[in-house]
Each structure stands twice: as structure tokens, then as C-alpha cells.
């Protein structure tokens, strides 16, 4: 199910919220203890989250359930094996291997097959029959959630979960299930048992959800059409290529940060507090700074569960550069099984290593701040070309057009009719104003006042009406 759809907003969400907030009254009638009531509420959240997830394809629920069971059982073994290091090691290894095995099979097996087939063809042998595998939505996210639990319990930074229901709730919790933020178990372990439900938190969640909804429907979706037109164009002029990639930069930011805002907002509505996922990323002054601000839950996850275990910066400068590059390549591959994502990760990894070699400063750190921000934005735009293109050939072609290598004939003369519509230009201007301001929705919605309530309400109403006139537009990060 997608947050910005009629069925979610008008059927799923009100039903969930009404039942969720009715359960305490029921609990009082049945004289349930606070602990019991929290379990009942979590059980309800598990059921609705499975409905939410199964809405895409009911069979995918079984895979998520299997990952949940494996990591729960391993967590129990870890909890019961204090002092038995060998047993603990094997328990966490099984959890990691099975979880990553599922992710690897569903996400990367076809990629490996296709590439193996190409190599065989190149060697003159018969190509393989490629087995088509349907990618379960959100598998990258819930696998990381599950891994975070097993590793946190193994490291002793979080206690084993009290019940299977709590654990299933953590893995499947619908607000962050399919596109994050990546919630680490140790940050919500306590909230799963006890969380507060206040009008203040609910209202803050509503405001954040409304802003996220507006970001997606009013900004990301119209700019998605512009990016599609530019990246799908037969012939393209250089100016159109720059406009198209800028539109994609705004689209992916407002799409993904909009989703994160909605997820955090929905979490607040049911008493959870999730981590902030974005912090004005396009105000970054270097690529290092960009990764402190973009998809924070992924970058910190990779830092804590991959970069540091690899040795981080503790084994000398060259090993640090290799670690940075490796982590970013794997981070790229996490986004999708395509060489474009590998190239995207390698590009960022290379720039991070370069900046590390310069003392965590950019090549252009002597420039005035606006130019540092602009330079970083341009570097990020190049990476979005890799990210958005369907293959490396297309990406290189697009980058070539950006530098004047394209033929502007044929359909290129008509492209402005798709790119520079008044709506698209208005959305671009609005995005440019919003992304280069330090204030973020996350902070804005922390305290709700009447003027903010009116602004958020107006945004939500306008976005709802715009949704009625739009076709189905899933979030970009659903594919990852």
C-alpha cells in the first residue's frame, strides 16, 4: 500500500487509528495490565502491518515472516547463551547468513545470472536461461531491520526482545516498513514495550505527515514527469539535460524525504519516535557533509555495521580509503542490482576517500560558502545521472549531453513542451527555495502552533485534491 493513495488515507489509516486508540478502553473492560495492553496494541500493529505489506502481493508476507522468525529465534539463542561465545557467534552468523541470503537471492540472483550469461556469451558459450525473480518490495529495509536486531543483541547493545509479537511489530511496523527510515533495534527497543501517546505527539505526527504528503504529491510527482521526459528523451539539448537532472535531484529528495516525514509522522501518531533521515542535504558543503545529511539512517547503519567492523579509520590512511570506497560501493549495490548503482557508490566512495585524504575537506573548500554548496550540488547532480539511468551506456550518454555532446535535433525541439510547463517550472522554483533553506519539516513540526496547523492543514488539503487528479505514483525508494 502506498501512503499517497485514496485507500491508505481514507480507509486504512482512519481504521487503524480508530481501532488502535479504542484498544485501551477495551483493555480496561478486560482489566488488562499495561504490559498486556502494550502487547495487544503491538499485535494489532503486526496484523495491520501485514495487511499493509501484503496489499502489494500477499505471498511476500511469508518471506517477511520467515526473516522475522529466523532472527527472533537467533535472538532468543543469543539471549540464552550469555557466556557461551561460540554459540553466540554461530547464532548471529546464522541470522546474518539467512537474512542476507534471502536478500541476495531475491535482489541479486537475477543480476548475477544476467552478467554470468553475458560473460558466457562473450566467451562463445551458450547463454543461460535467466530465471525471472520478482523483487519483494521493501526487502532491503526489513532485512536491515532484522540484522540490526541480531547484531545489537550479539554486541550486547540491546536486550533480546520480550516476545515474538514485539519483534514482529519492530520488523513489520507499517510506517517505516517499505522505505525506511532504517530503524535500529536499540533505538526502539524500549518504545516497543512502553511508549507515550499524547495529543502533542499525535498533532506533531499529523503536521509532519501532512508536510510529507505535500512534498510527495505537490512537488516530487510533477517533477518526476520532468525527469522521466529528460531521461527518456530520444534527443536532448544540453540545457534540457541539466534541467532534467536538477528536476530528478529535487524529485528524489522530496519523494524520499516526504516518505520519511510521513513515516515519522505516522510513527508519532502511534507513539513511536523514529530518527531523522534528512538534514538539508543540498546545503552540504562537501560530499562528506552530504553523507551526514542524506539518508542518515542508511549512512549511520553502514558506518556502524560495516565501515567500523571493516576497521574504519583505525588501520591507516590507505585502508581507510579502501574501506570508504567499499562501503559506498556496497551501499550503492544495496539500492539495486545494477551496475549504475555500483558506479554511483564508487563515485561517492571515491569522492569521500579524496576528501578524507584532504582532511575531510573538499577540493573547493577555499571558495565562499555559497560556491561550496553549489559545487557540492553539481557533484551530486552527476551522481544522480548514474542513479537515475537504466544502464551505464545511458548514463554516459546523458553526461555527454550535459557537456554538449548531444544532437539537439528531432524530438528535442518539442521537449520544452514536456519540461518547461508552467506547473513544472513552479514546482522547480518552489523546490529550489525549499531545499536551500536550513529549516526542515522534521524540526518545523516538532512544536505545533495555530499558524503551523493552518499551514499544514492547507498543504494537506491541496495535496489531497491534487492526489485525486494524479495517477498512481509509488515512491522511488520502493524499488530498493
Amino acid at each position: 500500500m502506498v501512503f499517497t493513495t485514496y485507500i491508505f488515507v481514507f480507509y486504512f489509516l482512519p481504521t487503524v487509528l480508530l481501532v488502535y486508540y479504542t484498544l485501551p478502553f477495551l483493555g480496561r473492560q478486560l482489566r488488562l495490565s499495561e504490559d498486556r495492553l502494550s502487547l495487544v496494541r503491538n499485535a494489532f500493529l503486526v496484523v495491520v502491518s501485514y495487511v499493509f505489506y501484503g496489499w502489494w502481493n500477499p505471498w511476500f508476507v511469508l518471506l517477511m515472516l520467515a526473516v522475522t522468525v529466523v532472527n527472533y529465534v537467533c535472538g532468543r539463542i543469543l539471549g540464552a547463551s550469555q557466556g557461551n561465545a561460540r554459540r553466540r557467534f554461530w547464532a548471529v552468523t546464522v541470522a546474518i547468513v539467512l537474512s542476507l541470503g534471502a536478500l541476495g537471492f531475491f535482489k541479486y540472483f537475477m543480476f548475477l545470472e544476467v552478467n554470468a550469461s553475458r560473460v558466457l556469451e562473450w566467451m562463445g558459450a551458450d547463454s543461460l536461461d535467466v530465471l525471472k525473480i520478482l523483487l519483494p518490495i521493501g526487502i532491503s529495509f526489513y532485512t536491515f531491520h532484522a540484522l540490526s536486531y541480531s547484531i545489537d543483541v550479539y554486541r550486547g547493545t540491546a536486550p533480546p526482545v520480550r516476545s515474538f509479537i514485539d519483534f514482529a511489530c519492530y520488523i513489520a511496523l507499517f510506517p517505516q516498513l517499505v522505505a525506511g527510515p532504517i530503524i535500529r533495534y536499540n533505538t526502539v527497543a524500549e518504545q516497543l514495550v512502553r511508549r507515550s501517546h499524547t495529543w502533542e505527539r499525535f498533532a506533531s505526527g499529523v503536521a509532519l505527515f501532512a508536510l510529507g504528503f505535500g512534498k510527495k504529491v505537490l512537488l516530487a510527482n510533477p517533477l518526476g514527469g520532468v525527469a522521466d521526459a529528460a531521461f527518456g528523451a530520444q534527443d536532448l539539448a544540453a540545457s534540457d539535460a541539466w534541467f532534467g537532472v536538477a528536476a530528478y535531484a529535487f524529485q528524489i529528495y522530496f519523494d524520499f524525504s516526504g516518505y520519511s516525514d510521513m513515516a515519522i509522522g505516522l510513527g508519532r501518531m502511534i507513539g513511536f519516535e523514529f530518527m531523522k533521515n534528512f538534514n538539508s542535504p543540498y546545503l552540504a558543503e562537501s560530499i562528506t557533509d552530504f553523507w551526514r545529511r542524506w539518508h542518515i539512517s542508511l549512512s549511520t547503519f553502514l558506518r556502524d555495521y560495516l565501515y567500523i567492523p571493516l576497521g574504519g579509520n583505525r588501520k591507516g590512511p590507505w585502508r581507510t580509503y579502501v574501506n570508504l570506497a567499499l562501503v559506498m560501493v556496497l551501499g550503492g549495490l544495496w539500492h539495486g542490482a545494477n551496475w549504475t548503482f555500483v558506479a554511483w557508490g564508487a563515485y561517492h566512495g571515491g569522492l569521500l576517500a579524496l576528501e578524507r585524504g584532504l582532511g575531510k575537506r573538499s577540493l573547493y573548500h577555499r571558495l565562499p560558502r555559497p560556491l561550496r554548496v553549489a559545487s557540492t550540488f553539481v557533484l551530486v547532480l552527476f551522481s544522480w545521472v548514474l542513479f537515475r539511468s537504466t544502464d551505464l551506456h545511458e548514463a554516459l550518454g546523458y553526461l555527454g549531453v550535459m557537456f554538449g555532446a548531444g544532437a539537439a535535433g528531432g524530438g528535442a525541439v518539442l521537449l520544452p513542451a514536456e519540461l518547461y510547463t508552467p506547473g513544472a517550472v513552479a514546482a522547480m522554483v518552489a523546490c529550489a527555495i525549499l531545499v536551500f533553506r536550513p529549516l526542515q519539516a522534521y524540526q518545523w513540526a516538532e512544536t505545533v502552533t495555530w499558524p503551523k496547523a493552518v499551514a499544514a492543514g492547507a498543504t494537506f488539503c491541496v495535496a489531497l485534491m491534487a492526489m485525486f487528479a494524479q495517477s498512481f505514483n509509488p515512491f522511488l525508494y520502493f524499488q530498493f
Binding site: L17, V206, A229, Q234, L414, E418, T421, Q470
Partner: protein
């Protein structure tokens, strides 16, 4: 600080009322109509991805609130931002364009996926030509340019000096057809010349301003070119039927505007005045009618239907082609199915080929890539024995939604 809680309660309550009111209004309206609330249908049957998608889209399509608001939202988007929604592109000076037609010109074809049916117009056209040739019938192909190809300057200022745009895929197909010796009525050249050197109806554009289709002036130019092609090489003999024309002006809101399904926009834009010319027989005074035993069969899509089978009648391409060649033709029309549906229809009704010497096959340019049924090869059966003419036998139409 007594004010704070009020804000929070107010925001929370307003939000809940807003999101809960829509399904409640829907349920009440369905109950008032003595219907079971549609939302409950999710519990009928085993959920599958397909059934869930269908349920979701049905629920939204039936929504009273969304249905009421959608036209006004579209109106606001059009009025404030010049946006034409998912299907329409709003051009300059009041011109409207069909987005798939624009996308055909601007977008790359997607790479073929393993297991996909081949979508090769050239292969199909050559096969059709050979199938007809085996029956002694000559094929003449007439790709009808997208409106966007002929009037690019009405879409964007950048195309002001572009005259006519022939995109790569169309150019390739025309070249391949030429190389393969297929008879082609090249309307890109014809319309390009007509734009540059306007004739007697120079004041009129070749396409309608609000519609995907050609104007009476455009179809007259096309009919003249097609007739010239048929007669020029002796494919068919000039007829002797004296046809005349009468002015038959109509007013209609164009199909691109109607696709938005937003009456407020239709009212704002208003209908377009169209100066049709109805063709009639000079000897009997009757409006033009097809003849089942004519030498020429015309196959096509809604470009053949417009003005011919809808208002004012006998004023479309077919009638004007008959007038230009001096004799009636037979026509088979399938809205939105110029590439394949019309050939499938012909395959089911072989008597349409009886006594034919030439088949003139028109399809809209964007079908080269976007044909709804692709470009499969369809068998052409032997023409059956001549049959007594039936009422309206010479004219068949299958109407499908959307533009041709």
C-alpha cells in the same frame, strides 16, 4: 499555557474527521442507493495482487468525494498552471495536444525485454502487402502524422522554425517502406507543403485546435493526395460519379479536452467551430454512401471516422476520397485500432475484400510504437463469394475509448 492542548486536540480531531469523513460519506451514499458499501467487497473472495489492485481502483473510481472534486482540481490546475493532466498537453494560442502523441516524438522506445512479442510494424506491413498481393490486391499505406508532428510550433516556441517534425522512428519506417517498394502516401510531405504553400482553404489549420484529429481542410488535402496516389499509377480508374460539396458547419469540444472529463474546463474552453463540407451525389442529391463492391477498400482508425460517421456525416476522409477519385469506396474503421484491430476485423469479414483492387491502409503515426495490440501479423482469408449488399454492409465501425 492553556492554549497548547487546544491546538493539539484541534489538529488531531480535524485530521481524524477529515480522513474518516470521506469513507463515511461514501458508505452513506451507497446505503441510500440501497447498495452494499463497496469497501466491504475486499472481504469477498481470496485476495490476489490483481484483485487488490482492481478493488483499490474501483474504490477510488466510485468515490463520491473524489468524483465531485476531480473536475474542479483539474480546472484549477488548467487555469492556474496551464496543466492538462495526464493525457493532454496545453499548447500555445489555445491549442491542445494529446500527450502520448507528444511522447511518441520525444521519448526513446524502451529496449525490448526478453520474451516480449516482437513489435515490428515493417514486418507486419510487408506481410500484409504480400498477403494482399497473393489475392491480386495492391496495398497503399498512409501513416497519418501526429498533430504534434505537423504543428510543433503550437506546442513550444523552440519549434517555431521547425515546420514539420518527423521523428527518428517514423523516418526510419518511411525509409524502410520506400526501400521495400511499398506504396506510401507520405502525408508528412503533403502536409508540410500545404503548410508552406496554403491553397484555397489557407485560413484553416490542417488539424483541429482542441482535437487529436485533422480538420476538414487537413482531410481534404490528405484525400486529394491519396486519390492522386491511387489514380496516378493506374491502380484504379477514375470514377464517373459526380460528387458535390455543401457547407455543413459543426461545433464540438475536441477529444483532447473531453479526455479530461472536466466539464468546467469544457465550459471555459467552449466548442470549436468546424467548417465541414458534406459530400453528396450530384445526380441524386444524396449524401455520400460507401459501396460494398467498390474497387478500393479503406482501412483505418478514428481519422476515418471523424465527420464521416459522426456529425455532420459524409464529410470525412472517406467521402472526400470518393469525391477526389470520382467513385465510392468501401471502408472499415476501428477507433484506436488502425494498426491491428481493423486488420483483425477484416480477417473476420473477408467479403470486404471482394472485388477489391487496392487497399488503402491508414493508421496514426503514434501507433508505430504505441499500437494498443502491437503489430502482430493477422491472416488475410480468401475473399468470399460476392454477397447481396446488406444495409450498411459497406461500413463497419468498432468504437473504442480514447483517441484513435
Amino acid at each position: 499555557m492553556a492554549k497548547r492542548p487546544d491546538v493539539h486536540v484541534g489538529v488531531s480531531a480535524t485530521f481524524m474527521v477529515l480522513i474518516a469523513a470521506v469513507p463515511l460519506v461514501q458508505a452513506v451514499s451507497e446505503l441510500l442507493r440501497a447498495e452494499r458499501p463497496q469497501a466491504l467487497e475486499v472481504f469477498c473472495g481470496v485476495p490476489t495482487p490483481t484483485s487488490l489492485r482492481a478493488y483499490e481502483s474501483d474504490l477510488e473510481a466510485a468515490s463520491v468525494v473524489a468524483g465531485r472534486l476531480r473536475p474542479w482540481v483539474q480546472y484549477a490546475q488548467f487555469d492556474l498552471l496551464g496543466a492538462g493532466g495526464e493525457k493532454a498537453a496545453v499548447g500555445r494560442d489555445g491549442w491542445w495536444f494529446y500527450k502520448p502523441g507528444l511522447e511518441y516524438l520525444t521519448r526513446r522506445p524502451p529496449p525490448p525485454q526478453p520474451g516480449d512479442e516482437p513489435n515490428d510494424p515493417l514486418r507486419t506491413i510487408l506481410a500484409f502487402r504480400d498477403q494482399l498481393a497473393a489475392r491480386g490486391i495492391r496495398l497503399v499505406v498512409m501513416p497519418v502524422p501526429n498533430k504534434e508532428s505537423i504543428y510543433p510550433e503550437q506546442l513550444t516556441r523552440r519549434a517555431a522554425s521547425a515546420d514539420v517534425v518527423v521523428c527518428r522512428q517514423t523516418r526510419e519506417l518511411l525509409g524502410q517502406l520506400h526501400m521495400a517498394g511499398v506504396d506510401v502516401v507520405n502525408l508528412f510531405e503533403v502536409f508540410g507543403s500545404a503548410k508552406r504553400c496554403p491553397g484555397t482553404r489557407s485560413e484553416e489549420a490542417l488539424y483541429l485546435v482542441q482535437d487529436t484529429h485533422w480538420s476538414p481542410a487537413g482531410l481534404a488535402v490528405a484525400a486529394k493526395a491519396a486519390a492522386g496516389r491511387l489514380l496516378g499509377r493506374g491502380r484504379v480508374q477514375p470514377g464517373t460519379v459526380p460528387y458535390g460539396v455543401l457547407p455543413a458547419p459543426v461545433q464540438r469540444v475536441g477529444d483532447v479536452v473531453r479526455m479530461l472529463q472536466a466539464p468546467p474546463i469544457e465550459r471555459l474552453v467552449g466548442p470549436e467551430a468546424i467548417a465541414c463540407e458534406q459530400v453528396f451525389r450530384g445526380d441524386t442529391g444524396e449524401p455520400y454512401k460507401d459501396a460494398p463492391d467498390a474497387e478500393v477498400l479503406v482501412l483505418g482508425d478514428s481519422f476515418l471516422r471523424i465527420y464521416e460517421q459522426d456529425e455532420p456525416g459524409a464529410a470525412g476522409f472517406v467521402a472526400h476520397l470518393a469525391r477526389a477519385r470520382g467513385g465510392p469506396v468501401t471502408s472499415l474503421v476501428s477507433d484506436g485500432g488502425g494498426a491491428t484491430l481493423v486488420r483483425q476485423e477484416l480477417s473476420r469479414r473477408p467479403r470486404f475484400l471482394a472485388k477489391k483492387r487496392v487497399v488503402l491502409w491508414g493508421f496514426v503515426e503514434r501507433d508505430i510504437r504505441f499500437a494498443a495490440e502491437g503489430w502482430p501479423i493477422v491472416p488475410v482469408p480468401e475473399a468470399g463469394p460476392p454477397r447481396p449488399p446488406l444495409r450498411e454492409e459497406g461500413r463497419a465501425q468498432r468504437t473504442m475509448g480514447g483517441a484513435s
